[in-house]
């Protein structure tokens, strides 16, 4: 009995995407994609530009309608009637420009809790907690996004996404427009944060190194379909197709520059 429960806990799909199709005009962006993201795992979603990664994330959040298929969040089917409630159980971070320019960092972070009528003390202690977690200077809280650097803005965005202590975190290329030094630091911090929180994380990235570093598992997408899902060593050792083979070997090491 214990063993079964343990197995179940390990493989329980927090996000389950079944047979999702999505067309833009005549273009089929998602072609009946099926995917499971296990509870408490960090999964990196990677693939060529335009293969439908962002579209998939938006459908999981219920931000855009799907043509067919089902999305289950923690076993509940995502519908129009419960999408607001389910969204509050998911944190969402976009590449850049996701902060509201007319609000200070603190107002950005606490907007949703104000709407939910949290008490001031509860809001403040939650912010304190998150400040330590994402490691940012409290001075930033009173600044508006226009006066905050890209890397810090992404930390603020993550704080905002974590405010309601969601079960799931979705990140769409969160480090995509951060310069390399800061990105390196943020990657370490993100890994640390994900480990501390032990939440279900789905992270889109362009960089195989980043995908492998942050993800327990990697999902490689190609033209609206899953090309391969598995741990990095599985993908490197047993590429499921020529495409996967090509994709993983298309990464260049700086050493190649030395003649």
């Amino acid at each position: 009995m214990d063993r079964v429960f343990y197995w179940y806990m390990l493989h329980y799909a927090m996000i389950s995407v079944q047979n999702i199709s999505k067309k833009y005009d005549e273009k089929e962006v998602l072609k009946g994609i099926t995917l499971e993201i296990p509870k408490s795992k960090t999964v990196s979603l990677i693939g060529p530009s335009g293969c439908g990664k962002s579209t998939l994330l938006r459908i999981i959040m219920g931000l855009i309608p799907r043509d067919s298929g089902t999305v289950l969040i923690d076993g509940k089917e995502l519908k129009d009637s419960n999408k607001l409630e389910l969204r509050r159980r998911m944190g969402y971070v976009v590449q850049k420009g996701g902060l509201f320019p007319h609000l200070t960092a603190k107002e950005n972070i606490s907007l949703v809790t104000h709407y939910l009528e949290w008490e001031k003390a509860k809001i403040n202690s939650r912010i304190e907690e998150l400040l330590r977690l994402v490691r940012i200077d409290p001075v930033l809280l009173s600044k508006k996004p226009g006066n905050i650097s890209g890397g810090q803005a992404q930390r603020i965005s993550l704080m905002r996404a974590l405010m309601l202590d969601p079960d799931i975190i979705l990140l769409d290329e969160p480090l995509g427009s951060i310069d390399p030094l800061v990105r390196h630091e943020l990657q370490s911090d993100l890994k640390e944060i994900f480990k501390t929180l032990n939440k279900t994380v789905l992270l889109v990235t362009h960089d195989l190194g980043e995908a492998a570093y942050l993800g327990d598992e990697i999902v490689l997408m190609r033209e609206g379909e899953v090309a391969q899902q598995g741990a990095i060593h599985q993908i490197l050792q047993n590429p499921a197709s020529e495409f996967v083979q090509k994709f993983v070997s298309a990464q260049r090491s700086p050493l190649e520059g030395i003649k």
Partner: protein, 488 residues
């Protein structure tokens, strides 16, 4: 509580009472003679204990005739020729009795002529005319060497020069078209010899002109009369006999003198009318002369009233319309298109369209200004919301906030500077356009401008134009300040 109720009931009775003796509303056209005649009738009625309200220099025939039909005014001075040709579009009506027969279906009647005929005439320098022994138009036949200078309108009109020359067999060597005011100067400088004029022009006296007799009765008669609504018989039966007491009382020379007293000597319409009534009826009416500051204060209030209410309403309506356009794709182009079309209607036309719907005065002017103010605010609200970057909106929805909260807390605040810019544009346009409101009796800075145009007085035009410009600048400055505050 009791007190409030009794006050309310009291005011209700008061209102009803006021309605029982609604003032008699008098209108006049945009030129001095009409304004003086309106004053004469208004002051005479007042002297007889009848409460009147005078909407002076409202506009042209169309505006006044429509206002009369809509019972926005009860009385205004008009000319028989205009009634027959422009209003009824008839020919060959000879007597007031037949005219009144035709006016009956409109619920309108005319008084008998007031005593002068303001028709076209030909005029000459009196010395030249005497020297050549000219008395009537027929006498011109033997003098083709005389230079004719006519207003362009007179040359073009069917009942103008074309038919006049046929009837009188005139073959002058030289005929030029020129502006009416310039014609008088040309005559004085003896560059031209014969001009067309209105038989009661103030300048006839001033330049000592000879008016040539229309011995073949070519020109139609433009006898001045008062047009009034027949329902006055029931509503206020005293009014009509008083108006009729002016019949036959104002001679051509008298009207010329009154026009000159206003146009050339700079007296006020009200005082000239009062002097005439004093002389003719021995009634003395009290004319309060407004100082420039009184007028400025009154016009400023009038202008702010027009702009404030129309802009306020526009903001209340246009922002929700802009939001609807940005949210509901089905009606987006309909809304934007509709307010866009409103903007293309010339402002003067829009004002005239308002008369049958809302009458004259400040209400139709505000309605027109309101419609004009919609587009910039609707368009900017729509654009302000639509232009919010996609990642921002996506993040907003991802928070799991309902649409109404997103609109209130995120979209409107982000779009606010753009919306404010739209309101600023509307306000500045509104301040300028509101000056046209005076054409339909709405008051404001347009009032002195209209009077100034009528009396050819730059000082009066500036009395309206300068404060209007200053107000526009103040409005602009105010919004610039608010904008600066927001962005800092």
């Amino acid at each position: 509580m009791k007190k409030i109720i009794s006050t309310a009931i009291f005011s209700l009775f008061f209102l009803i009472d006021v309605k029982g003796q609604e003032p008699i509303k008098i209108g006049s056209k945009l030129f001095t003679e009409s304004v003086i005649l309106g004053e004469v009738s208004s002051q005479l009625l007042e002297a007889n204990g009848i409460n009147t309200e005078y909407y002076k220099q409202l506009g042209g025939t169309r505006i006044l005739w429509n206002a009369l039909l809509e019972a926005e005014i009860d009385v205004y001075p008009e000319y028989t020729g205009t009634i027959i040709q422009e209003i009824l579009q008839e020919e060959g009506i000879r007597t007031i009795e037949t005219l009144n027969e035709m006016l009956k279906p409109f619920g309108v009647q005319a008084t008998q002529p007031l005593g002068f005929n303001n028709t076209y005439a030909l005029g000459m320098n009196s010395e030249v005319a005497e020297g050549l022994g000219l008395d009537s138009i027929s006498d011109l036949v033997n003098h083709p060497e005389l230079v004719f200078g006519f207003s362009n309108e007179f040359i073009d009109r069917n009942d103008g020069w074309k038919r006049l020359r046929q009837m009188y067999n005139l073959t002058p060597n030289s005929v030029t078209g020129l502006d009416h005011d310039l014609a008088y100067r040309g005559l004085e400088a003896q560059i031209i010899d014969v001009i067309d004029l209105y038989s009661t022009d103030a300048e006839i006296d001033y330049y000592g002109l000879k008016v040539l007799k229309d011995d073949l009765n070519f020109f139609p008669e433009y006898n001045a009369v008062f047009l009034y609504r027949t329902d006055l018989f029931e509503r206020s039966p005293k009014v009509i006999p008083i108006l009729k007491s002016l019949e036959g009382l104002i001679s051509e020379a008298e009207m010329v003198a009154m026009n000159a007293a206003v146009k050339l000597d700079g007296n006020s319409d009200a005082i000239v009318a009062a002097e005439f009534l004093n002389k003719s009826f021995n009634v003395s009416s009290e004319v309060i002369e407004e100082t420039i500051w009184d007028r400025l204060l009154k016009n400023t209030w009038g202008h702010l009233y027009l702009v404030g209410i129309s802009l306020g309403l526009a903001i209340i309506i246009a922002i929700p319309l802009g939001i609807a356009a940005s949210k509901l794709q089905k009606i987006e182009s309909m809304i934007i298109g509709f307010v866009g079309i409103l903007q293309t209607i010339p402002s003067l036309a829009l004002l005239v369209f308002m008369i049958p719907l809302l009458g004259i005065g400040s209400v139709p002017a505000m309605a027109a200004l309101f419609l004009y103010s919609l587009l910039p605010i609707v368009r900017n609200t729509h654009a302000g919301i639509k232009n919010i970057p996609e990642p921002m909106m996506e993040s907003a929805y991802a928070l799991g906030l309902p649409n109404s909260v997103i609109l209130k807390k995120i979209e409107l605040p982000i779009a606010f500077p753009t919306i404010l810019a739209g309101i600023k544009t509307s306000a500045v346009i509104n301040v300028g356009t509101a000056t046209l409101g005076a054409l339909i009796g709405a008051g404001g800075y347009g009032q002195p401008i209209l009077t100034g145009i009528r009396l050819d007085s730059t000082a009066l035009i500036l009395e309206g134009a300068i404060p209007a410009a200053i107000l526009a600048l103040l409005v602009q400055g105010f919004f610039d300040l608010v904008e600066k505050r927001l962005t800092s």
